[in-house]
Symmetry: C2
Subunit: 368 residues, 2 copies
Amino acid sequence: MPLELTPRTLMGPGPSDVHPRILEAVGKQTIGHLDPQFVELMEAIKSLLKYTFKTKNEMTYTVSAPGSAGMETCFVNLVSPGDKVLVCINGVFGKRMLENVTRIGGEAVVLEFPWGSGVDPRKVEEELKKDPAIKIVSFVHGETSTGVLSDAEAIGKIARENDCLTIVDTVTSFVGTPLEVDKWGLDAVYTGSQKCLSCIPGLSPVTFSERALEKFDQRKTPVQSWFLDLSLIKNYWGTGEKRTYHHTAPVNSLYALYESLLLIKEEGLENCWERHFKNHLKLKEGLEKLNLEFLVDEKERTPQLNAIRVPEGVDEAKVRGRLLNEFNLEIGAGLGPLAGKIWRIGLMGYSSRKDNIDFLLDCLKKAL
Amino acid sequence: MPLELTPRTLMGPGPSDVHPRILEAVGKQTIGHLDPQFVELMEAIKSLLKYTFKTKNEMTYTVSAPGSAGMETCFVNLVSPGDKVLVCINGVFGKRMLENVTRIGGEAVVLEFPWGSGVDPRKVEEELKKDPAIKIVSFVHGETSTGVLSDAEAIGKIARENDCLTIVDTVTSFVGTPLEVDKWGLDAVYTGSQKCLSCIPGLSPVTFSERALEKFDQRKTPVQSWFLDLSLIKNYWGTGEKRTYHHTAPVNSLYALYESLLLIKEEGLENCWERHFKNHLKLKEGLEKLNLEFLVDEKERTPQLNAIRVPEGVDEAKVRGRLLNEFNLEIGAGLGPLAGKIWRIGLMGYSSRKDNIDFLLDCLKKAL
């Protein structure tokens, strides 16, 4: 009956291993969500989120729910029924974006790419030139289902030049790979707490540009979700004169988020990006020695999420099962058309460590 | 920079003080949300939730977000555009229900009661007889904004007799006051983790009856929220042959929820109800000695949330400020039309203890 869990080493697509300091923070005594101390904590989190998103956006906060709700926050606030949205799909999360657009009653223009390839900025440009009614471009920066990194800077530039807003999924890329919200001109960007932040799962930091808020202010219909409505949230997380109660914030999870952001700040964001990249190179070297191949072309790889082809004749589930049951090591399976064909090895946040890579390579060698 | 918080005693409308065992549980090492151990934990939580809701409903789980998202889950899944819903309003949360209905495009029939009074079942019956097109009745069991407990059993019976489903807010009442989902025939019931469960804030347990699921299956339009869509959730939390990934569950928060439910099970649900009631009587006695009056008639009081009239000539914010700053004791203010007029004193979950009542009465005496 008491909660007894065998600890694991988490090297899948997320959650990643949570840093001990974060696990300590989450268990601190709960205070009220209207306590002045909590308001201070919210301000500190906003400031650290601006640092990690590389933005000055005032409307930078965390959604009180996982990444899927962060995605939904961006779509329900910026897309009104009838709005034309270019949805780039190169994996599971692009497909989820499409679900969001259609459920709002938006008109989706779908641009598909093979799973394992990035979103081609030239194709985005072609589509926008062809159809000037498109006003929003949505795409995934680092596709968690394939380990592909798309060129968010180039797509952001093209979108701006064509008078479009961007909605960008950075769940896997955030703090593990360069991301510059302001410099790249991205408009609505969401992420998750459980990847390179190494925080507990359940929160979704987001940021909205001034341009995005202008479009929001021009809405003619109410946002379909009360819980995610920016006009209410901005009085809770915003810098208005008087903070207004909206919902009960997940107080302890925010303790954890604060601690995780503090760890990034202490390491330095750019150093954190570099650590993720260097560890990717080390893993790559080891995998190549085991004759394992990457799914994704070298120039499009997300360093923190490595999609590896399952060798011919190998039962992928059996190998994953052995890693989990014999070594308490979790890696991820493939999804959708890649089910059974790839493994997904995460080197995210606190999991992205040299000793973890040695451990994984050793276990993989034994299990194969 | 490190997270340093002055601990408080939480005797407001929630969150309540979190039990030390729950704070210990939430900080346990994170495992993956697809780990077989986690699947076991989900099953255990479902089973304990059935016990606490007093239901056999298979579709009993927790929404991965706070109570407001639990409310939204019930509405977006059961109300289709054009559906007529009777919304009973006797405080803040009834009003929030109305927001949910209108944002879905449902047709709301509003039945209002004074803030501080319960929902009158006879009025509900009159309305349903008058308008047979109404197919759903929504109301709040224990209104967090006023401390009123409505007769959920009587309203549930009337709704059934008139072929209506019920959507019931039990955020404040759950495990603190008798609630019998099956016996009373309630259909969609949601609660929050941060009140009488004394768990960390951020989760919203829900339960759906077979009748509710039948109505859900007859929907002609997709659920407007991807994140809250029952047809997807049931493959994640359900007892289907193969569990399907939906979103990343808030793993550590579920450790906490499990521990909080375990504590209820150990105490015994009925004993827990009784403890809340007895402590309410003790508080009442003490408040009366201080010549403080309740807002709500004796027969309609929620024992775990006591709304007290601010005495004539007293600056309510100043008193609350003194309690917080001098004694680290949090109580709640009034909301909406009751702002400045009442205090809300919570005796919820782990906060509902004799020593807390003595402490509060002593502090209140000094602060007045």
